[in-house]
Symmetry: C2
Subunit: 577 residues, 2 copies
């Protein structure tokens, strides 16, 4: 199982990854190598699926990949990849994705595509839009290899009852391998293992789960590829977040010499291809590789690693070489800079301090200390003269004057970005985003927002974890202690504190989690013990901030209730619960 | 049929609209009154559907509405409304919208909900996300009224083959009425009429089509409610875009005295309620009201009206009283101001001129002329001193310096908005959006972008049409002739013209329409006669502008291939066709 990191649209680069890993697998004597969902195109392709020329390019690239493998002397190794295919013989139908695109698997062997099959269950919840973008498949691919039958399915087909999984049992395959592009979520990875274990027992077959690594746009793929045997026992497991070739020797049952009956099961036809019927000679299997998991599984360090991978791939896949962060001396920008340094190196991280008349001395000192500790490039551009020029041209006061300062900073970082080519990181956290506590076109400027799915309390946890990790390694903690311990402030007017406008973050985050994470209404929140007045105020803030949230830069999703795609509210909404 | 304009979340206000129109209908002797899809909640509710407290509020409001109608002396008049319901007896299922929300109809009679049924076909393409937000229904509601059987279905159920429409024929209803929230699209309205005609003949019954009026967020509902008889002949038709009560006398066949067999047809159960079995005494029917359509149906004036309605409802439903437009003297800001004046009146439209060193004399003169012609409030805030202050604090050049000017303007309009409470209109057109020819946080600031789905060539057409309309009415044309006739320029450097960076708009728009509207690739575009070098350059611009498009303010959708929700591309995309 090749846990790899493709890039959407990079058909040639992705094909090279496949050839490279197939070569490594062959070098270690593998009999079969399986890649993740849509490895040829990258995932998710979103509305590119409906572009006919893109589907054609994917099909062509997959044929070419089969030939490349053969030309590289790897034609004898069966290789299974995910790719974007089209369903033939389907005319245009009102409401059906144009061109009938499918999320498919292909068996490549001896220079050709030998067998294809398409994903049946198309998820359309949370971060997924597949029912919108694809036409469902109605077949299950089963490959006979050295006399053992191996079935292949795609991602959601393992999660849903009925369909391909039911057909695997009827087809009496000894192993089911699913190709996945399954995004990282806190607390999700044991769910994957438990699902594989349950399915293995249901279908009386071993189950392999190949996942992507890396990140694409807002999704982080955590890897964690694994195999369980027919009893549901864990056999092998790859590391999280990294590219990895997981080689596993499995003892599979020999298939019935005759084919089992292949009538449709649950509407699913079984399609078959035979690579070889003779079992391999008995050999000494290698020791099973099981990457240990931290316990408890989902700890804050795992989140930190996910954020680093998300930032790294967003910056590099979009062909930027450096990032720019506005440093306020506060915790959000300090953590953002630390993640950036861990992702792409201190040499590629640029900080800018933009003090105003209301910036406190400790803010400037904390920001300077951060630049020093992290070894990034830092500069200072005071904004007072620009704010004065705006005020002379068009005097404003109150919130307008507060926002003006944030927008002068936003314009300054964008000028540096345009002049020098850095990608700008926005430093807002999830608590701010939820409540709209930020300035549109001010601190909200940027191309990527690394901590937008982290509550403020999680931001503090991450900062403390990262500092502690540095201390354990005998390194300088990257984040100044004062940035962690001081009370948060936007510093847009004298003596301003976040707590002037918002409740204490511990209370706020708990309330926001209940409202956004579990969709509880006023009555439920109040009976859960929250102050009714506070609940009304906070959910009012959340509901009115929808417009700002939609305008915020994208960022890595680490929860099932992030604020980007999931939980899309009407902009005009007169209802408060 | 009550063609009305609800607001999402305003359950009380929407209920008042229903009572008001029911009273008017009763006053004219109506036997039945039918409202649009989800009139109780407004439409579309997006992810509010998954908030349990919102579903409960909708159900409660619908019960209360039945009681209010009765209390108002209208209990004897059967009223059919669309509302948000939940499917009972459905446990949570992985991937199913939380709480099993449904897009349903309710028959209200004598103070109670007497019969409900939910939408079966859930569209999830173009502007729709219903498969994501709702659980499908599996029943068809048939009401016996004065001995005639009348079936009710929701929107997409009329468009798709199979399901409820098939069940109508089996149930032998004499009339099918569909409740719709069907968005405006250029060239769509005859499609609706033709669909009703075809369905009427298929099911051998009259078909009524009740649609919303007004606008909600990015959707404009054009009304155009209509009825065709069982032969498909048009019987009555309401005007476009306006609220309207369309009263039609129909001669319906008497239902079989016994119920027809109601086994499920195409998986759809028939559910029935009898209001009355005795036919009404014969009376003199009123003349059929058929609002005439312009010919050809979809002309530029219709687009203009749609844009006016879209802007009006976005501003008013979001409780803003006024708008602010940055005036450059160019055609985009001139047309935007004209639409705003027609939508909310000149007294509520504020223009601001922000000349720089590169603004030509004619630009200033044209903008001043526009302020005068339209009678809006205008002011001038030169930006030179602010740009100089930025350059002194942090010198930049080239594109960075061009963008700086646009961002100083963006910050200035936002300061005015924050200070005075205006909603800022962004003035970008679809050609700019498609190619990314705008400055993020500069001319792209704002809460609503009235012409974002109009190609530049359509912008000119709209301006000419509006001026000609004024001339026909003996009024002053609102848009200065020079704004229409001069070559477009961003005026961010000396002598700059759009044609320095982009091809002529006639060629560009035609190419963009083919690429974006029909998903043609490089090979197809080249063989259609476009210069290959131009195609490569333009589609490169389009694909690289995805990030900017996502950050652009929302605006009214007038085409099936708008640039907001439909055609959502990956941000990271290495592929060019």
């Amino acid at each position: 199982m090749a846990q790899v990191n493709p890039t959407v649209g990079d058909l040639e680069g992705n094909s090279r990854i496949v050839v490279d890993y197939a070569r490594r697998a062959a070098g270690q004597g593998a009999h079969l190598v399986v890649f993740p969902e849509m490895v040829v195109t990258g995932y998710p392709v979103e509305d590119l699926a409906m572009r006919n020329s893109f589907v054609s390019a994917s099909v062509k690239a997959t044929h070419a990949l089969a030939e490349s493998l053969d030309a590289a002397g790897l034609g004898g190794l069966p290789v299974v990849v995910g790719f974007l295919d089209r369903r033939d013989g389907v005319g245009p139908r009102f409401g059906q994705p144009a061109g009938a695109p499918q999320n498919s698997t292909a068996l490549l062997h001896r220079g050709r595509i030998r067998l294809t099959s398409a994903k049946h269950h198309l998820p359309n919840y949370g971060v997924f839009d597949e029912f919108r973008n694809f036409v469902p498949g109605d077949s299950l691919a089963v490959v006979r290899l050295h006399g053992a039958d191996i079935a292949f399915a795609v991602c959601e087909d393992l999660w849903q009852e009925g369909g391909p999984v039911t057909a695997v049992r009827a087809a009496r395959a000894g192993l089911l391998i699913t190709l996945n592009g399954s995004p990282y979520e806190r607390d999700k990875d044991n769910v994957r293992l438990e699902l594989c274990q349950r399915r293995a027992r249901e279908i009386n077959a071993a189950v392999g789960y190949v996942n992507m690594s890396g990140a694409q746009d807002e999704l982080i793929f955590e890897g964690d590829s694994l195999i369980v045997d027919a009893d549901g026992e864990l056999v092998s497991r790859a590391p999280q977040f990294e590219d990895h070739l997981l080689i596993t020797d499995l003892d599979l049952p020999r298939a019935d010499p005759g084919d089992p009956p292949d009538g449709p099961v649950d509407g699913i036809r079984v399609v078959r291809y035979t690579v070889s019927t003779e079992p391999v000679d008995r050999y000494e299997p290698r020791a099973h590789e099981v990457t240990p998991r931290p316990d408890p599984v989902s700890d804050i360090g795992e989140v930190y690693r996910a954020l680093v991978v998300g930032l790294r791939d967003y910056v590099l896949k979009n062909r930027f070489g450096s990032v720019l962060v506005a440093l306020s001396g506060g915790i959000d920008s300090a953590l953002t800079a630390a993640i950036a340094v861990d992702a792409i190196g201190a040499d590629n991280v640029y900080g800018v301090l933009m003090p105003s008349a209301y910036s406190s001395e400790h803010s400037i000192a904390d920001a300077e200390e951060l630049v020093k500790r992290q070894g990034i490039s830092g500069r200072t551009i005071p904004i007072g003269s620009v704010v004065d020029a705006f005020q002379a041209a068009n005097p404003v006061e109150g919130v307008a004057a507060e926002n003006l300062q944030a927008r002068v900073r936003g314009t300054t970082v964008m000028a540096l970005s345009n002049q020098e080519g850095h990608l700008v990181l926005a430093t807002g956290n999830k608590s701010e985003l939820a409540t709209g506590y930020s300035t549109l076109y001010g601190d909200a400027v940027g191309a990527y927002a690394p901590i937008k799915d982290c509550w403020k309390t999680v931001v503090w946890e991450l900062a403390r974890w990262r500092n502690a990790q540095a201390e354990r390694a005998g390194e300088t903690p990257p984040i100044p202690e004062n940035s962690i311990s001081k009370p948060p402030s936007a510093e847009l007017r004298p003596g301003q504190l976040d707590t002037d406008s918002l409740p204490d973050y511990a209370v706020l985050d708990s309330l926001l989690s209940a409202y956004i994470g579990t969709d509880k209404g006023l009555a439920e929140l109040t009976s859960a013990g929250y102050d009714p007045e506070l609940v009304v105020r906070v959910i009012g803030l959340v509901d009115r901030a929808e417009y700002k949230r939609r305008q915020y830069p994208p960022g890595p999703k680490i929860s099932s209730r992030n604020l980007s795609r999931d939980r899309r509210l009407p902009i005009t909404n007169r209802w408060t619960p």
